[in-house]
């Protein structure tokens, strides 16, 4: 392979580093109206009266929107395949406000100051309602967060809003109660029941959400947005504003990170409506406070895990009872819940019984949504902590327990078919799985044999090691779709047009590498244009670790067609049949060496002189399955017994991602994911006041890892080849984030004998647990 498995720099690298104006706010028209949103100061209230007359009368104020001025059309903001598995429970603006930060009204003015002044002049009288702030008390709460009757799901998702339930899901394989009952009586069996909690986490992509819109010369609505899902945005805006899809164009320019936080509509509905009504360009750039308060968090969870195993370490049953907090709206509610099962349970595929029972409840908190890991990280913390607790009960090394029970190449799990994302999944025989090798290699690198259980002390500091394993997916089987168009230029270079959405990961570059590999040309000869609903073919977007696998396979198909076309046209030019010629990326030549034509010559004549035609090819791909990448992560921690502070000294993660198309970019995904996971494990915490106000609404109170918090890191990709992936690739975007919470919790236990079961593992929790 020449162009894949090669660390070429990102195509946009130099432009980005030197600070070219390429993000949404950089390219917004200078005369765009500035849109600002009045947000609810109350966790739950009904707008009794709203008077915007003073704001509207101000010089420079163009339009003010309240719920009375917008179409009342329920929608889900979640950017998911249609029909979406999220309830249609959100309105552009509503009479009810359901969390501190929910939209009350929007103002568009000629400049920012005027817009801000105008917000202050809007008079709102609220009927304050009793909020639901404890998700464990949501279900039978007398306060109903969504009392309205015109909201609905697209299909059965266990939606029961009158009981504050956004979605629910249950499944069972075997008779789990019976296995547990028998196990409890059997002296050769053990049963472990434990409860875990995970917190909300904020994405903190460095570019705040931004969008602008205008009406073009044809009267069409153009939206430029920092979104992960331009094609979903087009469909959603069409639906909610009643503008035909053909009259909407959505463009994603360069965007400053997403991590799932931009897999939804945020400012687009309002900015589009302002532009549509006023026929003037309008922009809405969120403040960091708005990003924290009024976009998304990770779903907080309560996780009850029951494990049953024989004394020799054979797992017999796994049961999850899950409570999930979706906040004020049910976006990604069912799907993140199901991923908690579908991306953890198959790891231990030899059990007799599996049960998953989960409910997603509404609360009056900032809505939860998609966030890297997407449910799997919550479940991974619970399951992989519980596995260590089980190992201890069995008197067995945690590595040995895992090796006895993990999934291997050539095997399957019934979960793949039963649990998809909001729907049934897809059957799959695992064709690439180096999980066992990853565990063994990780143990070697961290020196498990000499470190586990040793509690190495140095003054007030104690060291410990811990591990966890994980799997993810590569796109959503049978749902995520990518497509690509390749056209040949008259100098022999190619345009690659993809709907796929590069969030900064480098996917534009990776897709170009795949095309270049097929065509036998240099990646430099592939010019990529992506994420523009008018000019690029359909793609569901960048989420679910899908781009390399799903969009990559589409690009590969398109490039193969182009290659065939070049051979056909080249043969015709040489007066031969396609079977008689070969193409090496530069020259089409007769196999007998008698004659040849360069690609450039062929391209030039096809456009200017002979048999003129555009050479163009397309390709589409939907994964019939979603091959999992795997990780085995080992950490060494040092805990200060006087303060309870946990430092990660060494972080070792061995990954099976299939072929890394661009090893450096894959490494950065793994490292970046690990650091976000370490943040979640140790200190990132979304906190609310007793009245439901977000306390951690800026970067001083919400702490993300700084460069001094990053441990020594050993990331290693095992040789692995996924036959269904482009050149053997699977995915790498999410797998890196899943393991840190459990691995660190297990290491803290190894050091101190203290088990922290609720994240984050703060010094206070460790300290007080030690004192017990």
């Amino acid at each position: 392979m020449r162009e894949v498995k090669k660390s070429v720099p990102k195509k946009d690298a130099y432009g980005l580093i030197r600070g070219k104006p390429v993000y949404t706010d950089d390219i917004a028209p200078k005369d765009a109206l500035v849109v600002k949103v009045l947000r609810s100061p109350h966790a739950f209230a009904r707008i009794k009266d709203i008077d915007v007359s003073e704001a509207l009368a101000m010089d420079g104020v163009e339009i003010v929107l309240t719920y009375k001025d917008v179409p009342r059309k329920p929608i889900t903001r979640a950017g998911q395949g249609y029909p979406e598995p999220s309830p249609y429970d959100k309105f552009i603006l509503d009479e009810y406000v359901r969390y501190v930060g929910d939209e009350v009204a929007a103002v568009a003015a000629e400049d920012e100051r005027t817009a801000e002044e105008a917000l202050k002049k809007i008079k709102v009288e609220y009927e304050i309602l009793e909020p639901v702030l404890d998700f464990e008390k949501a279900e039978e709460n007398p306060s109903v967060i969504h009392p309205e009757d015109d909201i609905f799901p697209q299909f059965d998702i266990g939606f029961d809003p009158k009981r504050n339930i956004a979605a629910s899901y249950e499944m069972e394989i075997g008779d789990v109660d019976k296995i547990l009952e028998e196990c409890e009586k059997d002296p050769d069996c053990v049963v472990l029941k434990e409860r875990f909690y995970t917190q909300a986490q904020a994405h903190v992509m460095l570019e705040p959400h931004a969008s602008f819109a205008y009406v073009d010369m044809h009267g069409r609505l153009v939206i430029v947005s920092s979104t992960q899902t331009p094609f979903h945005v087009r469909r959603q805006i069409s639906m909610v504003l009643g503008i035909p899809i053909k009259n909407i164009r959505v463009i994603k320019p360069r965007i400053g990170g997403g991590f799932g936080g931009k897999q939804a509509l945020h400012g687009e509905m309002i900015v589009a409506l302002v532009a549509w009504r006023t026929k003037k360009p309008a922009k809405l750039v969120y403040t960091r406070k708005e990003v924290f308060e009024s976009t998304y968090t990770r779903h907080p969870s309560r996780f009850d895990v029951t494990l049953a195993a024989t004394k020799d370490g054979k797992l017999k049953a796994i049961a999850y009872d899950v409570l999930w907090d979706t906040g004020a709206y049910g976006e990604h509610a069912l799907t993140t819940l199901m991923v908690a099962g579908s991306k953890t349970l198959p790891m231990y595929n030899k059990v007799e019984g599996v049960r998953f029972r989960g409910k997603v409840v509404y609360t009056n908190h900032t809505p939860a949504g998609a966030y890297r890991g997407y449910g799997a990280i919550q479940a991974n913390f619970a399951l992989e902590s519980a596995m260590d607790m089980l190992a201890e009960k069995l008197g067995m090394d945690p590595i040995e327990l895992r090796l006895k029970n993990i999934i291997r190449e050539g095997e399957t799990s019934p979960i793949f078919k039963i649990m998809g994302e909001g729907r049934e999944g897809a059957e799959m025989i695992i064709k690439s799985c180096k999980l066992e090798e990853a565990i063994k290699r990780g143990a070697e690198v961290i020196d498990w044999k000499n470190k586990f259980g040793k509690k190495e002390k140095n003054g007030n500091k104690v060291r410990g090691v811990g591990m966890a394993i994980a799997m993810q997916g590569s796109g959503i089987a049978n749902i995520d779709m990518g497509s690509a168009i390749i056209k040949l230029n008259d100098d022999g270079s190619f345009n690659l047009l993809v709907g796929a959405t590069d969030l900064g990961t480098g996917s534009d570059t990776i897709l170009a590498q795949i095309a270049a590999e097929v065509l036998g040309v240099s990646t430099d000869d592939i010019i990529v244009y992506s994420s523009d609903t008018d000019l690029t073919p359909f793609d569901t977007g960048a989420y679910a670790s899908s781009t390399t696998y799903v969009s990559g396979n589409a690009v590969k198909r398109a490039a193969e067609k182009m290659r065939k076309l070049i051979i056909e046209e080249g043969a015709k030019k040489l007066g031969l049949s396609p079977e008689e010629v070969e193409f090496d990326g530069k020259v089409i030549r007769a196999k007998d060496g008698s004659k040849e034509v360069t690609l450039k010559e062929l391209a030039t004549v096809r456009y200017y002189t002979e048999d003129q035609k555009q050479l163009v090819a397309d390709g589409s791909f939907v994964g019939p399955e979603s091959p999992p990448p795997y990780a085995a992560t080992f950490v060494e921690v040092e805990v200060d017994t006087q303060t309870g502070k946990v430092d990660v000294l060494k972080y070792v993660s061995i990954l099976d991602i299939g072929t890394p198309i661009n090893p450096n970019l894959a490494r950065i995904q793994a490292e970046g994911g690990a650091v976000q996971g370490i943040g979640m494990a140790l200190y990132e915490d979304v906190k609310y006041s007793s009245s439901g106000r977000l306390l951690t609404n800026n970067l001083m109170y919400y702490k993300i890892p700084s460069r001094l918090d990053v441990p020594e890191m050993h990331i290693e990709f095992l040789e692995s080849y996924e036959p269904t992936g482009p050149f053997g690739a699977k995915s790498v975007a999410e797998i890196g984030i899943d393991t840190p919470p459990a691995a660190i919790a297990n290491a803290v236990y190894d050091a101190l004998g203290v088990r922290i079961k609720d994240l984050p593992i703060t010094p206070e929790k460790v300290f007080f647990a030690m004192k017990k």
Binding site: S7, P9, K10, D12, A13, Y14, G15, L16, I17, R18, G19, K20, P21, V22, Y23, D25, D26, H203, V204, M205, L206, E207, P208, R254, I255, G256, G257, F259, T287, R288, K289, L503, G504, T505, G506, N662, N664, L665, R667, I668, E671, G672, G673, A674, V675, Q676, N698, L699, M700, I704, P705, S706, R707, L708, V710, M713
Partner: protein, 153 residues
């Protein structure tokens, strides 16, 4: 009010409001490498040089800049070719939103090391750059590039 500033080597006169922050004025005047990533002077994406030293343009009133010299990423990019190459070679530019601010900071750090004000070792480099947050890379790729560029062993 009017201020005169030397921006990226060229004197300019700008009409500003006394309450304008430098970040907003710079963006309005077309220096769009300067980003707003937070509201609390915490993220480092708005970093510029004022009279050669790094400063957070979101926290400085433009009115105080009269007669001063300001340098943005646009003004140093050509000098930082080797740094850009090193960062791109690691794939550590990622979404790029923090990149211009970080480049300004690395430029200042290089000068500080040359002047003997900052030690040339990994710990000192990390401490100098701690105010430039990144959420994509996990910092390690950036650091591989920065250490290479600065010759930190």
């Amino acid at each position: 009010m009017k201020i005169k500033v030397k921006i990226n080597g060229e004197w300019k006169e700008w009409e500003i409001d006394p309450s304008d922050y430098l970040l907003d004025v710079l963006r309005r005047e077309g220096y769009l490498s300067v980003k707003r990533g937070c509201d609390t002077g915490t993220c480092g994406t708005c970093t510029v040089l004022v009279d050669g030293f790094p400063a957070l343009s979101c926290s400085i009133l433009a009115a105080t800049m009269d007669g001063h010299e300001i340098t943005t990423a646009e003004g140093i990019a050509d000098e930082m070719e080797d740094y850009m190459k090193a960062l791109a070679a690691e794939g550590a530019d990622q979404c790029g939103f923090c990149s211009p601010g970080l480049m300004v900071m690395v430029y200042a750090l290089k000068k500080e090391i040359e002047n003997g004000k900052v030690e040339k070792n990994e710990e000192a480099v990390k401490r100098y750059l701690i105010g430039n947050l990144c959420r994509c890379s996990g910092y390690l790729g950036q650091q591989r590039a920065i250490f290479k560029f600065l010759g930190v062993k």
